[in-house]
Symmetry: C2
Subunit: 229 residues, 2 copies
Protein backbone atom coordinates (compact mmCIF):
# COMPACT_ATOMS: atom_id res chain seq x y z
CA UNK A 1 0.00 0.00 0.00
CA UNK A 2 1.39 3.36 -1.09
CA UNK A 3 0.06 6.60 0.44
CA UNK A 4 0.55 10.30 -0.10
CA UNK A 5 0.16 12.15 3.21
CA UNK A 6 -0.64 15.85 3.44
CA UNK A 7 1.76 17.13 6.07
CA UNK A 8 1.58 20.68 7.41
CA UNK A 9 3.92 20.04 10.31
CA UNK A 10 1.13 20.54 12.85
CA UNK A 11 -0.29 18.23 15.44
CA UNK A 12 -3.08 16.78 13.29
CA UNK A 13 -1.20 15.99 10.10
CA UNK A 14 1.77 14.60 12.03
CA UNK A 15 -0.58 12.20 13.79
CA UNK A 16 -2.07 11.23 10.43
CA UNK A 17 1.40 10.48 9.05
CA UNK A 18 2.23 8.19 11.96
CA UNK A 19 -1.23 6.56 11.61
CA UNK A 20 -0.66 5.91 7.89
CA UNK A 21 2.69 4.36 8.75
CA UNK A 22 1.10 2.25 11.50
CA UNK A 23 -1.47 1.10 8.92
CA UNK A 24 1.42 -0.34 6.92
CA UNK A 25 1.50 2.26 4.15
CA UNK A 26 4.67 3.26 2.36
CA UNK A 27 4.43 7.02 2.96
CA UNK A 28 5.12 9.93 0.62
CA UNK A 29 4.69 13.29 2.32
CA UNK A 30 3.60 16.50 0.61
CA UNK A 31 3.75 20.00 2.10
CA UNK A 32 2.96 23.44 0.72
CA UNK A 33 4.90 26.65 0.80
CA UNK A 34 2.09 29.04 -0.06
CA UNK A 35 3.75 32.04 1.55
CA UNK A 36 1.92 31.43 4.80
CA UNK A 37 3.06 33.69 7.61
CA UNK A 38 3.72 30.70 9.87
CA UNK A 39 6.56 29.42 7.71
CA UNK A 40 7.97 27.71 10.77
CA UNK A 41 5.51 24.89 10.06
CA UNK A 42 7.47 23.97 6.93
CA UNK A 43 10.64 23.40 8.94
CA UNK A 44 8.59 21.29 11.32
CA UNK A 45 7.18 19.29 8.39
CA UNK A 46 10.69 18.48 7.16
CA UNK A 47 11.76 17.21 10.59
CA UNK A 48 8.57 15.20 11.12
CA UNK A 49 8.86 13.61 7.68
CA UNK A 50 12.39 12.53 8.56
CA UNK A 51 11.26 11.18 11.95
CA UNK A 52 8.60 9.13 10.20
CA UNK A 53 11.16 7.95 7.63
CA UNK A 54 8.97 8.72 4.64
CA UNK A 55 10.01 7.50 1.19
CA UNK A 56 9.99 11.03 -0.18
CA UNK A 57 8.88 14.49 0.91
CA UNK A 58 7.73 16.96 -1.74
CA UNK A 59 7.31 20.64 -0.95
CA UNK A 60 5.21 22.45 -3.54
CA UNK A 61 5.63 26.21 -3.70
CA UNK A 62 3.12 28.79 -4.95
CA UNK A 63 1.94 32.16 -3.76
CA UNK A 64 -1.52 32.47 -2.27
CA UNK A 65 -0.86 36.14 -1.44
CA UNK A 66 -1.70 36.84 -5.09
CA UNK A 67 -5.35 37.44 -4.30
CA UNK A 68 -5.16 37.57 -0.50
CA UNK A 69 -8.35 37.13 1.46
CA UNK A 70 -6.83 35.44 4.51
CA UNK A 71 -5.05 36.44 7.71
CA UNK A 72 -2.73 33.48 7.15
CA UNK A 73 -1.20 35.05 4.05
CA UNK A 74 -1.78 38.76 4.66
CA UNK A 75 0.50 40.08 7.40
CA UNK A 76 -1.48 43.33 7.42
CA UNK A 77 -4.42 41.44 8.90
CA UNK A 78 -4.45 40.57 12.60
CA UNK A 79 -4.55 36.93 13.62
CA UNK A 80 -7.75 36.07 15.49
CA UNK A 81 -7.34 35.46 19.21
CA UNK A 82 -10.78 34.18 20.08
CA UNK A 83 -11.96 32.12 22.99
CA UNK A 84 -12.68 28.49 22.15
CA UNK A 85 -16.43 28.98 22.50
CA UNK A 86 -16.30 31.80 19.97
CA UNK A 87 -14.63 29.50 17.43
CA UNK A 88 -17.55 27.11 16.98
CA UNK A 89 -19.29 27.42 13.62
CA UNK A 90 -17.74 30.75 12.71
CA UNK A 91 -15.47 30.84 9.70
CA UNK A 92 -12.42 32.78 10.92
CA UNK A 93 -10.23 35.26 9.05
CA UNK A 94 -7.59 32.53 8.91
CA UNK A 95 -9.78 30.74 6.36
CA UNK A 96 -7.82 30.53 3.09
CA UNK A 97 -10.17 30.31 0.07
CA UNK A 98 -10.16 26.80 -1.41
CA UNK A 99 -6.99 25.80 0.42
CA UNK A 100 -7.85 22.15 1.01
CA UNK A 101 -9.16 21.87 -2.55
CA UNK A 102 -5.79 23.06 -3.83
CA UNK A 103 -3.84 20.85 -1.41
CA UNK A 104 -5.87 17.75 -2.28
CA UNK A 105 -5.49 18.47 -6.01
CA UNK A 106 -1.71 18.48 -5.76
CA UNK A 107 -1.81 15.38 -3.57
CA UNK A 108 -3.93 13.73 -6.25
CA UNK A 109 -1.43 14.64 -8.97
CA UNK A 110 1.47 13.32 -6.89
CA UNK A 111 -0.47 10.17 -6.00
CA UNK A 112 -1.33 9.44 -9.61
CA UNK A 113 2.24 10.09 -10.77
CA UNK A 114 3.63 7.54 -8.28
CA UNK A 115 0.65 5.17 -8.60
CA UNK A 116 -0.34 5.52 -4.94
CA UNK A 117 -3.47 3.91 -3.51
CA UNK A 118 -4.39 6.49 -0.88
CA UNK A 119 -4.19 10.13 0.11
CA UNK A 120 -4.30 10.90 3.84
CA UNK A 121 -5.51 14.24 5.16
CA UNK A 122 -5.88 15.36 8.78
CA UNK A 123 -9.19 17.19 8.56
CA UNK A 124 -11.40 17.02 11.62
CA UNK A 125 -14.83 18.49 11.73
CA UNK A 126 -15.34 18.74 15.46
CA UNK A 127 -12.94 21.45 16.52
CA UNK A 128 -12.85 23.40 13.27
CA UNK A 129 -16.42 23.14 12.12
CA UNK A 130 -16.10 26.68 10.82
CA UNK A 131 -14.01 25.61 7.83
CA UNK A 132 -16.19 24.49 4.90
CA UNK A 133 -13.39 22.39 3.38
CA UNK A 134 -12.88 20.21 6.46
CA UNK A 135 -16.34 18.65 6.44
CA UNK A 136 -17.25 15.09 5.42
CA UNK A 137 -19.49 16.13 2.50
CA UNK A 138 -16.64 18.14 1.00
CA UNK A 139 -14.30 15.16 1.33
CA UNK A 140 -16.93 12.98 -0.40
CA UNK A 141 -17.14 15.48 -3.27
CA UNK A 142 -13.35 15.43 -3.62
CA UNK A 143 -13.45 11.63 -3.62
CA UNK A 144 -15.66 11.82 -6.72
CA UNK A 145 -13.15 14.20 -8.32
CA UNK A 146 -10.37 11.72 -7.52
CA UNK A 147 -12.37 8.97 -9.25
CA UNK A 148 -13.37 10.90 -12.36
CA UNK A 149 -10.42 13.25 -12.80
CA UNK A 150 -7.65 10.70 -13.23
CA UNK A 151 -6.63 7.98 -15.63
CA UNK A 152 -6.20 5.64 -12.65
CA UNK A 153 -9.69 6.41 -11.31
CA UNK A 154 -11.29 5.90 -14.74
CA UNK A 155 -9.65 2.51 -14.87
CA UNK A 156 -11.32 1.47 -11.61
CA UNK A 157 -8.28 2.06 -9.39
CA UNK A 158 -9.49 5.23 -7.72
CA UNK A 159 -7.20 6.77 -5.13
CA UNK A 160 -8.92 6.70 -1.74
CA UNK A 161 -9.04 9.74 0.55
CA UNK A 162 -8.38 8.66 4.14
CA UNK A 163 -9.47 10.93 7.00
CA UNK A 164 -8.61 9.07 10.21
CA UNK A 165 -9.23 12.15 12.39
CA UNK A 166 -12.54 13.26 10.92
CA UNK A 167 -14.58 12.47 14.04
CA UNK A 168 -11.97 13.17 16.69
CA UNK A 169 -11.63 16.07 19.09
CA UNK A 170 -8.19 17.58 19.58
CA UNK A 171 -7.73 15.69 22.85
CA UNK A 172 -8.59 12.38 21.11
CA UNK A 173 -5.95 13.21 18.51
CA UNK A 174 -3.35 13.76 21.22
CA UNK A 175 -4.26 10.42 22.80
CA UNK A 176 -3.94 8.74 19.41
CA UNK A 177 -0.64 10.48 18.71
CA UNK A 178 0.71 9.40 22.07
CA UNK A 179 -0.10 5.77 21.26
CA UNK A 180 1.60 6.19 17.87
CA UNK A 181 4.67 7.92 19.32
CA UNK A 182 4.28 11.24 17.50
CA UNK A 183 7.16 13.55 18.54
CA UNK A 184 5.06 16.58 19.62
CA UNK A 185 8.19 18.61 20.33
CA UNK A 186 8.89 18.64 16.57
CA UNK A 187 5.44 19.91 15.54
CA UNK A 188 4.34 23.49 14.91
CA UNK A 189 0.71 24.61 15.17
CA UNK A 190 0.98 28.35 15.80
CA UNK A 191 -0.33 30.73 13.12
CA UNK A 192 2.46 33.23 13.78
CA UNK A 193 6.02 32.81 12.59
CA UNK A 194 7.39 32.37 16.10
CA UNK A 195 10.26 34.87 15.69
CA UNK A 196 13.41 34.23 17.71
CA UNK A 197 15.83 31.31 18.01
CA UNK A 198 14.59 28.81 18.83
CA UNK A 199 11.12 29.98 17.75
CA UNK A 200 8.31 30.04 20.28
CA UNK A 201 4.59 29.64 19.62
CA UNK A 202 2.49 32.71 20.48
CA UNK A 203 0.02 30.93 22.75
CA UNK A 204 -2.65 33.44 21.75
CA UNK A 205 -3.94 32.49 18.29
CA UNK A 206 -6.88 30.12 17.76
CA UNK A 207 -4.54 27.28 16.86
CA UNK A 208 -2.36 27.67 19.96
CA UNK A 209 -5.42 27.98 22.19
CA UNK A 210 -7.02 24.78 20.88
CA UNK A 211 -3.76 22.90 21.24
CA UNK A 212 -3.03 24.14 24.75
CA UNK A 213 -6.59 23.46 25.89
CA UNK A 214 -6.44 19.89 24.60
CA UNK A 215 -3.15 19.10 26.36
CA UNK A 216 -4.52 20.71 29.55
CA UNK A 217 -7.75 18.70 29.31
CA UNK A 218 -5.68 15.52 29.36
CA UNK A 219 -3.49 16.73 32.22
CA UNK A 220 -0.47 16.59 29.90
CA UNK A 221 2.21 19.12 29.20
CA UNK A 222 2.72 20.38 25.67
CA UNK A 223 6.49 20.03 25.13
CA UNK A 224 6.86 23.00 22.73
CA UNK A 225 7.87 26.47 23.92
CA UNK A 226 5.28 29.26 24.15
CA UNK A 227 5.69 32.99 24.61
CA UNK A 228 2.52 33.12 26.73
CA UNK A 229 0.48 30.15 27.96
CA UNK B 1 -21.52 39.31 -13.34
CA UNK B 2 -17.89 38.63 -12.43
CA UNK B 3 -16.04 35.68 -14.00
CA UNK B 4 -12.65 34.04 -13.58
CA UNK B 5 -11.51 32.61 -16.93
CA UNK B 6 -8.88 29.88 -17.22
CA UNK B 7 -6.62 31.10 -20.01
CA UNK B 8 -3.84 28.94 -21.43
CA UNK B 9 -3.26 31.16 -24.45
CA UNK B 10 -4.51 28.49 -26.86
CA UNK B 11 -7.37 28.53 -29.29
CA UNK B 12 -10.00 27.06 -26.94
CA UNK B 13 -9.43 29.15 -23.83
CA UNK B 14 -9.06 32.33 -25.89
CA UNK B 15 -12.46 31.66 -27.43
CA UNK B 16 -13.90 31.07 -23.98
CA UNK B 17 -12.53 34.39 -22.76
CA UNK B 18 -14.14 36.26 -25.64
CA UNK B 19 -17.37 34.32 -25.07
CA UNK B 20 -17.39 35.24 -21.37
CA UNK B 21 -16.90 38.86 -22.36
CA UNK B 22 -19.70 38.64 -24.95
CA UNK B 23 -21.91 37.21 -22.19
CA UNK B 24 -21.41 40.45 -20.32
CA UNK B 25 -19.06 39.19 -17.63
CA UNK B 26 -16.36 41.31 -16.04
CA UNK B 27 -13.41 39.02 -16.75
CA UNK B 28 -10.47 38.04 -14.52
CA UNK B 29 -8.01 35.77 -16.31
CA UNK B 30 -5.85 33.13 -14.63
CA UNK B 31 -2.93 31.28 -16.23
CA UNK B 32 -0.43 28.77 -14.92
CA UNK B 33 3.30 28.60 -15.20
CA UNK B 34 3.77 24.95 -14.26
CA UNK B 35 7.11 24.62 -16.03
CA UNK B 36 5.42 23.36 -19.15
CA UNK B 37 7.77 22.95 -22.09
CA UNK B 38 5.53 25.11 -24.29
CA UNK B 39 6.14 28.24 -22.25
CA UNK B 40 5.34 30.26 -25.33
CA UNK B 41 1.68 29.80 -24.43
CA UNK B 42 2.15 32.03 -21.37
CA UNK B 43 3.33 34.93 -23.54
CA UNK B 44 0.30 34.31 -25.74
CA UNK B 45 -1.98 34.34 -22.69
CA UNK B 46 -0.63 37.74 -21.62
CA UNK B 47 -1.28 39.23 -25.06
CA UNK B 48 -4.76 37.69 -25.36
CA UNK B 49 -5.72 38.91 -21.89
CA UNK B 50 -4.73 42.42 -22.94
CA UNK B 51 -6.66 42.11 -26.21
CA UNK B 52 -9.75 41.10 -24.28
CA UNK B 53 -9.17 43.96 -21.80
CA UNK B 54 -9.58 41.79 -18.72
CA UNK B 55 -9.84 43.45 -15.31
CA UNK B 56 -6.82 41.53 -14.04
CA UNK B 57 -4.62 38.64 -15.15
CA UNK B 58 -3.06 36.39 -12.53
CA UNK B 59 -0.27 33.97 -13.41
CA UNK B 60 0.22 31.32 -10.75
CA UNK B 61 3.59 29.58 -10.73
CA UNK B 62 4.41 26.08 -9.41
CA UNK B 63 6.52 23.23 -10.63
CA UNK B 64 4.77 20.12 -11.94
CA UNK B 65 8.13 18.62 -12.90
CA UNK B 66 8.47 17.63 -9.23
CA UNK B 67 6.92 14.24 -9.86
CA UNK B 68 6.91 14.21 -13.65
CA UNK B 69 4.68 11.75 -15.44
CA UNK B 70 3.95 13.85 -18.55
CA UNK B 71 5.60 14.69 -21.84
CA UNK B 72 4.43 18.29 -21.31
CA UNK B 73 6.76 18.77 -18.34
CA UNK B 74 9.48 16.21 -19.04
CA UNK B 75 11.69 17.30 -21.94
CA UNK B 76 13.30 13.85 -21.94
CA UNK B 77 10.03 12.39 -23.23
CA UNK B 78 9.10 12.75 -26.89
CA UNK B 79 5.96 14.67 -27.78
CA UNK B 80 3.36 12.44 -29.45
CA UNK B 81 2.88 13.00 -33.17
CA UNK B 82 -0.13 10.83 -33.83
CA UNK B 83 -2.64 10.90 -36.60
CA UNK B 84 -6.01 12.32 -35.62
CA UNK B 85 -7.70 8.92 -35.78
CA UNK B 86 -5.14 7.54 -33.34
CA UNK B 87 -5.99 10.28 -30.84
CA UNK B 88 -9.56 9.19 -30.15
CA UNK B 89 -10.09 7.67 -26.73
CA UNK B 90 -6.43 7.14 -25.97
CA UNK B 91 -4.94 9.07 -23.10
CA UNK B 92 -1.71 10.48 -24.54
CA UNK B 93 1.68 10.98 -22.87
CA UNK B 94 0.87 14.70 -22.79
CA UNK B 95 -1.69 13.94 -20.09
CA UNK B 96 -0.61 15.78 -16.92
CA UNK B 97 -1.93 14.04 -13.78
CA UNK B 98 -4.76 16.03 -12.20
CA UNK B 99 -3.95 19.17 -14.17
CA UNK B 100 -7.49 20.47 -14.59
CA UNK B 101 -8.26 19.63 -10.96
CA UNK B 102 -5.34 21.81 -9.89
CA UNK B 103 -6.24 24.58 -12.36
CA UNK B 104 -9.88 24.64 -11.28
CA UNK B 105 -8.87 24.66 -7.61
CA UNK B 106 -6.79 27.80 -8.06
CA UNK B 107 -9.56 29.38 -10.15
CA UNK B 108 -11.96 28.61 -7.30
CA UNK B 109 -9.65 30.26 -4.76
CA UNK B 110 -9.28 33.34 -6.96
CA UNK B 111 -13.02 33.44 -7.63
CA UNK B 112 -13.90 33.24 -3.96
CA UNK B 113 -11.32 35.88 -3.01
CA UNK B 114 -12.81 38.38 -5.49
CA UNK B 115 -16.42 37.22 -4.94
CA UNK B 116 -16.87 36.10 -8.56
CA UNK B 117 -20.01 34.35 -9.78
CA UNK B 118 -18.51 32.07 -12.42
CA UNK B 119 -15.42 30.19 -13.53
CA UNK B 120 -15.04 29.57 -17.27
CA UNK B 121 -13.00 26.67 -18.62
CA UNK B 122 -12.47 25.63 -22.25
CA UNK B 123 -12.76 21.87 -21.91
CA UNK B 124 -14.28 20.04 -24.83
CA UNK B 125 -14.95 16.37 -24.80
CA UNK B 126 -15.22 15.70 -28.50
CA UNK B 127 -11.71 16.18 -29.74
CA UNK B 128 -9.83 15.26 -26.56
CA UNK B 129 -11.98 12.47 -25.22
CA UNK B 130 -8.78 10.80 -24.05
CA UNK B 131 -8.37 13.22 -21.15
CA UNK B 132 -10.37 12.10 -18.07
CA UNK B 133 -10.47 15.64 -16.66
CA UNK B 134 -12.18 17.17 -19.71
CA UNK B 135 -15.41 15.17 -19.47
CA UNK B 136 -18.81 16.42 -18.26
CA UNK B 137 -19.01 14.06 -15.28
CA UNK B 138 -15.68 15.36 -14.00
CA UNK B 139 -16.89 18.95 -14.35
CA UNK B 140 -20.05 18.03 -12.41
CA UNK B 141 -17.94 16.55 -9.63
CA UNK B 142 -15.87 19.74 -9.48
CA UNK B 143 -19.09 21.77 -9.36
CA UNK B 144 -19.98 19.91 -6.16
CA UNK B 145 -16.54 20.72 -4.75
CA UNK B 146 -17.10 24.40 -5.63
CA UNK B 147 -20.39 24.30 -3.74
CA UNK B 148 -19.17 22.50 -0.62
CA UNK B 149 -15.57 23.65 -0.40
CA UNK B 150 -16.11 27.38 -0.04
CA UNK B 151 -17.69 29.80 2.38
CA UNK B 152 -19.56 31.37 -0.54
CA UNK B 153 -20.93 27.99 -1.72
CA UNK B 154 -22.07 27.04 1.80
CA UNK B 155 -23.97 30.30 1.95
CA UNK B 156 -25.94 29.41 -1.19
CA UNK B 157 -23.88 31.55 -3.59
CA UNK B 158 -22.00 28.72 -5.29
CA UNK B 159 -19.60 29.70 -8.04
CA UNK B 160 -20.79 28.22 -11.32
CA UNK B 161 -18.44 26.37 -13.68
CA UNK B 162 -19.18 27.41 -17.28
CA UNK B 163 -18.04 25.18 -20.14
CA UNK B 164 -19.28 26.81 -23.34
CA UNK B 165 -17.18 24.53 -25.57
CA UNK B 166 -18.00 21.19 -23.96
CA UNK B 167 -19.96 19.85 -26.93
CA UNK B 168 -18.08 21.57 -29.74
CA UNK B 169 -15.63 20.16 -32.24
CA UNK B 170 -12.50 22.17 -32.96
CA UNK B 171 -13.99 23.51 -36.18
CA UNK B 172 -17.12 24.67 -34.31
CA UNK B 173 -14.85 26.49 -31.88
CA UNK B 174 -13.10 28.27 -34.75
CA UNK B 175 -16.45 29.31 -36.18
CA UNK B 176 -17.49 30.61 -32.78
CA UNK B 177 -14.17 32.41 -32.29
CA UNK B 178 -14.53 34.05 -35.70
CA UNK B 179 -17.94 35.40 -34.73
CA UNK B 180 -16.46 36.69 -31.45
CA UNK B 181 -13.41 38.24 -33.10
CA UNK B 182 -10.76 36.12 -31.40
CA UNK B 183 -7.30 37.21 -32.64
CA UNK B 184 -6.01 33.76 -33.70
CA UNK B 185 -2.64 35.20 -34.63
CA UNK B 186 -2.02 35.91 -30.94
CA UNK B 187 -2.80 32.36 -29.75
CA UNK B 188 -0.40 29.48 -29.17
CA UNK B 189 -1.50 25.83 -29.26
CA UNK B 190 1.73 23.95 -30.00
CA UNK B 191 3.15 21.62 -27.33
CA UNK B 192 6.73 22.54 -28.21
CA UNK B 193 8.42 25.78 -27.19
CA UNK B 194 8.61 27.07 -30.74
CA UNK B 195 12.29 28.10 -30.56
CA UNK B 196 13.39 31.01 -32.77
CA UNK B 197 12.25 34.63 -33.10
CA UNK B 198 9.44 34.97 -33.80
CA UNK B 199 8.57 31.46 -32.57
CA UNK B 200 6.95 28.99 -34.95
CA UNK B 201 4.60 26.13 -34.06
CA UNK B 202 5.95 22.67 -34.89
CA UNK B 203 2.98 21.53 -36.99
CA UNK B 204 3.63 17.93 -35.90
CA UNK B 205 2.34 17.50 -32.35
CA UNK B 206 -1.23 16.39 -31.56
CA UNK B 207 -2.26 19.92 -30.73
CA UNK B 208 -0.90 21.42 -33.96
CA UNK B 209 -2.46 18.65 -36.03
CA UNK B 210 -5.92 19.13 -34.54
CA UNK B 211 -5.70 22.87 -35.02
CA UNK B 212 -4.46 22.69 -38.59
CA UNK B 213 -7.06 20.07 -39.52
CA UNK B 214 -9.87 22.21 -38.15
CA UNK B 215 -8.83 25.32 -40.06
CA UNK B 216 -8.41 23.21 -43.20
CA UNK B 217 -11.86 21.64 -42.74
CA UNK B 218 -13.37 25.12 -42.79
CA UNK B 219 -11.30 26.20 -45.80
CA UNK B 220 -9.62 28.85 -43.64
CA UNK B 221 -5.99 29.71 -43.17
CA UNK B 222 -4.46 29.55 -39.71
CA UNK B 223 -2.62 32.88 -39.36
CA UNK B 224 0.17 31.62 -37.08
CA UNK B 225 3.55 30.49 -38.43
CA UNK B 226 4.42 26.79 -38.63
CA UNK B 227 7.74 25.04 -39.19
CA UNK B 228 5.96 22.26 -41.14
CA UNK B 229 2.31 22.19 -42.18
Amino acid sequence: MKAVVLLSGGLDSSTVLFQAKANGAECYAISFDYQQRHRQELDAAVVIAQSAQVQQHQIVAFDLRLWGGSALTDTQMDLPTRSISEMANHIPTTYVPARNTIFLSFALAYAEAIAADQVYIGVNQLDYSGYPDCRPDFIQAMQEVFRLGTKQGREGQSIEICTPLINLHKSDIINLGNRLGVPWEQTWSCYSDGGGTPPKACGQCDSCKLRLAAFAELGLEDPIAYIIT
